[in-house]
C-alpha cells in the first residue's frame, strides 16, 4: 500500500500574532510543532504499512522551517518525505492548499491512501482533507475513529458523527481524516532519529507538480481575510460561592433558577 500523510506545521501555542498589514499569521520567530492531529494520521499510516507492507510518504506545504515536521515524520517511521516550498505557495487558503497537495499526490503517483489529521489547530477548518479528495475526485471518509478491514482493493472504516458512528467501505484510492481515537502515537526510536538527520528531503516548486499559477497562493484563494481582531472579552463578574456542600448546592440552584436553567 502506498500511503501519503499530509502533515502541517503549526504554532506551538494558540497565542497567534497577526501582521496588521497583510492580516496573515506571523510564523517567523514562533515556536512551531507538528499539528497534534497529524500524529494520529502518521501513526495509522505506519501501522498499516507494518501490517500490509508498502510505503509511507509524508508531505507538507510550508516555509523552509517546516522541514522539521517532515524529519519528525521520518523519525517516527515514514519512509520518505516531500516538501512543497516556494514563495508562490504563500497565502494559500484551503482551496489552494488542497489543490497543491492534490497535485503533489498525483506527481508521487500510484497512491492508494491519503491520510490527514481531523483539522489543523491554527486554522481549525478541517477543510483540507475533503478538499484534497475533491480535487482528486477520490472517495473520502472524515473523522475516522478506526480502520476495521483492509482488502486488496478497499478499506473499511468507522466514521464518527453526532449520533454515533457508521461503517463504510471505500475503494482505493481514498482520502481519510482521522481523530484521536484511532490509535496511540509512538515515540521516535534512536534509529529513526538518525534516519531523520541523514535523509534528503526533496523540495518541490509549483512547476515540479504542474500547478497552475492561477490556482495557488493568493491568486488561487477565493477567500480573503479582511480584518482580524481580538474576540470580545467575556464580561463576567464571578459570583463566588463557599460554605458547606449543602449551602453551596442551594446557592447554585438559586442562581440557576433565577436564569430559568433548572
Amino acid at each position: 500500500m502506498k500511503i501519503v500523510v499530509c502533515i502541517k506545521q503549526v504554532p506551538a501555542t494558540s497565542d497567534a500574532k497577526i501582521d496588521p498589514e497583510t492580516k496573515r499569521i506571523i510564523r517567523e520567530g514562533q515556536k512551531a510543532i507538528l499539528n497534534p492531529f497529524d500524529l494520529y494520521a502518521l501513526e495509522e499510516a505506519i501501522q498499516l504499512k507494518e501490517t500490509y507492507g508498502g510505503e509511507v510518504i509524508a508531505v507538507t506545504m510550508g516555509p523552509p522551517k517546516a522541514d522539521a515536521v517532515l524529519r519528525e515524520a521520518i523519525a517516527l517511521g515514514a519512509d520518505r518525505a516531500v516538501h512543497l516550498c516556494d514563495s508562490a505557495f504563500g497565502g494559500s487558503d484551503t482551496w489552494a492548499t488542497s489543490y497543491v497537495l492534490a497535485k503533489a499526490i498525483e506527481k508521487i503517483g500510484g497512491v492508494d491512501l491519503v491520510l490527514c489529521g481531523k483539522q489543523a489547530v491554527d486554522g481549525d477548518t478541517a477543510q483540507v482533507g475533503p478538499g484534497i479528495a475533491a480535487h482528486l475526485d477520490w472517495v473520502q471518509a472524515t473523522y475516522v475513529m478506526s480502520v476495521e478491514r483492509v482488502g486488496t482493493t478497499s478499506i473499511t472504516v468507522k466514521r464518527m458523527h453526532e449520533e454515533g458512528y457508521d461503517l463504510c467501505e471505500l475503494s482505493f484510492p481514498a482520502v481519510l481524516t482521522v481523530v484521536k481515537d484511532i490509535n496511540t502515537p509512538r515515540v521516535p526510536t534512536l534509529k529513526g532519529r538518525l534516519a531523520a538527520l541523514q535523509c534528503e528531503i526533496p523540495v518541490w516548486k509549483p512547476a515540479d507538480i504542474g500547478a497552475e499559477p492561477s490556482k495557488i497562493g493568493l491568486a488561487g484563494s477565493p477567500t480573503r481575510v479582511v480584518k482580524t481582531q481580538p474576540p470580545e472579552p467575556r464580561q463576567t463578574r464571578t459570583v463566588r460561592i463557599t460554605g458547606t456542600p449543602q449551602e453551596c448546592a442551594k446557592a447554585l440552584i438559586r442562581e440557576l433558577r433565577l436564569r430559568s436553567l433548572v
Binding site: 472524515t142 453526532e162 467501505e169 484563494s221 482580524t228 464571578t238 447554585l252
Partner: protein
C-alpha cells in the same frame, strides 16, 4: 482560479441553507440557519432557499417554510439514506450550477464539515469554516464572514468578492432560530438525483445509532464536564447521573480522556470539540487555555473546584469552592426537591 466578472456575479441570487438531517429528520441547527439566511436575503431583497437532500424528507418542507424559507428545494431519494458525501456533493454542485445561489450556508457538524468543503472545491468557490457571524454588504452582495481562528484567540473577517456562491459553515447554537409562523407560504421545488453517477462511491455498510454513546455536545443545552479532579471512571459515573438529572450531556478535559476515564468523543477543547451550550458546569477542570478555547463561548459557566485560583474559577460566572464529591450529590438532591 476562475474569478467571475461583475456581470457573471450578478447572475447569482438567493441565500441557500443546506438542511442538516440526521436519520431523516431535520435538525434544529437548520432553523437557526434559515433565520440567519432570512436577514441576509432581506438585505439583498432575495429569497431564502432551504435545500434538503435525503430519504423520506419530503414531509418536512412546510416546517422550513414556517421558519422563513421561501423555496424548499427537495431531493428525496432512497439512495441518499446513509451519508454518502460523494453523491451529495455531486447533486449539490449540479443544483448550484443550475440555480446559481449567491450564498450557501450549512451546519458545521460532522456531516457539514465533510460535505461542504468537497462541494466548495468542486464549485470553485471559497468556504469559511465555523462562522460565528454573517453580515451582508447589501450593495455588492459580499458576505462578511466572521470566524474564530487559533482556538478562538482571534476573530477573522473573511470576504470572497470574486467568486460565487460564497459558502460558509456555522456552528449549531450560534444563531437564534426564529419563531415559526404557520401561516407563511412558500413553494416546493422537487429535483431528482438525475444523472448523478453513483459509481466509485463509498458504501455505507452499517449505521450505529447508539443513543447512550451519542455525545452530541454541539446540540446540548447543558453540559456537565469533568477533569482530572473527577479522579477516575467512578467520578464520571457520578457526572453521568448528574447530567441525566438535568437533561444534559457529559463533557471532559483532555486529562480525563487521556487517563482513559471517558472516550475521546466527550473531549472539549482545542483538540476536542468546541461547544456553545447555555450552561457549562466544569467539575475539577483547572481551565488551561486549550480547554477554555473549546467552551468559553457558553452562555453561563459554573466551576466547581477546591482550588479557588484556577483559570476556570477566575473566568466562571459562578465559582463554587469545595470538594466536588460532596457538592455534586447535594446539587442532585436539591434538583430532586424542585
Amino acid at each position: 482560479m476562475i474569478t467571475l466578472t461583475e456581470q457573471e456575479r450578478s447572475e447569482y441570487r438567493n441565500i441557500w441553507v443546506l438542511a442538516e438531517t440526521q436519520s431523516g429528520s431535520i435538525q434544529p441547527v437548520t432553523y437557526e440557519l434559515v433565520g440567519a439566511a432570512r436577514t441576509l436575503a432581506d438585505a439583498r431583497q432575495s429569497e431564502v432557499w432551504a435545500v434538503v437532500l435525503g430519504s423520506g424528507v419530503a414531509g418536512q418542507a412546510e416546517t422550513l417554510v414556517a421558519y422563513g424559507a421561501d423555496t424548499v428545494l427537495l431531493v428525496d431519494d432512497a439512495r441518499l439514506a446513509g451519508f454518502c458525501d460523494e453523491a451529495e456533493a455531486r447533486v449539490l454542485v449540479r443544483l448550484i450550477k443550475k440555480y446559481k445561489p449567491e450564498v450557501v450556508v450549512g451546519a458545521a457538524t460532522f456531516r457539514g464539515r465533510a460535505l461542504i468543503p468537497r462541494v466548495a472545491v468542486m464549485a470553485n468557490c471559497g468556504l469559511t469554516a465555523d462562522c460565528t457571524g454573517l453580515a451582508m454588504d447589501s450593495e455588492t452582495g459580499d458576505l462578511l464572514q466572521t470566524r474564530p481562528a487559533f482556538g478562538g484567540n482571534i476573530m477573522a473577517t473573511i470576504r470572497c468578492s470574486n467568486h460565487r456562491p460564497q459558502m460558509a459553515t456555522v456552528r449549531p447554537r450560534v444563531m437564534k432560530a426564529p419563531v415559526p409562523d404557520e401561516n407563511r407560504t412558500g413553494r416546493v421545488l422537487v429535483e431528482s438525483m438525475l444523472d448523478t453517477d453513483l459509481d466509485k462511491m463509498k458504501k455505507i455498510l452499517q449505521i450505529f445509532h447508539n443513543k447512550e454513546a451519542a455525545v452530541n455536545l454541539s446540540d446540548a443545552r447543558i453540559i456537565i464536564s469533568g477533569g482530572r479532579g473527577m479522579k477516575g471512571r467512578e467520578g464520571f459515573d457520578l457526572l453521568r447521573r448528574f447530567a441525566a438529572k438535568v437533561g444534559g450531556a457529559v463533557g471532559a478535559s483532555r486529562a480525563a480522556v487521556d487517563a482513559g476515564w471517558i472516550p475521546y468523543a466527550h473531549q472539549v477543547g482545542q483538540t476536542g470539540q468546541t461547544v456553545q451550550s447555555t450552561l457549562y458546569i466544569a467539575c475539577g477542570i483547572s481551565g488551561q487555555i486549550q480547554h477554555l478555547v473549546g467552551m468559553q463561548h457558553c452562555d453561563m459557566i459554573v466551576a466547581i473546584d477546591k482550588n479557588p485560583d484556577t483559570p476556570m474559577m477566575q473566568m466562571a460566572d459562578i465559582a463554587i469552592q469545595g470538594d466536588l464529591f460532596e457538592i455534586i450529590p447535594e446539587i442532585m438532591n436539591e434538583i430532586t426537591k424542585l
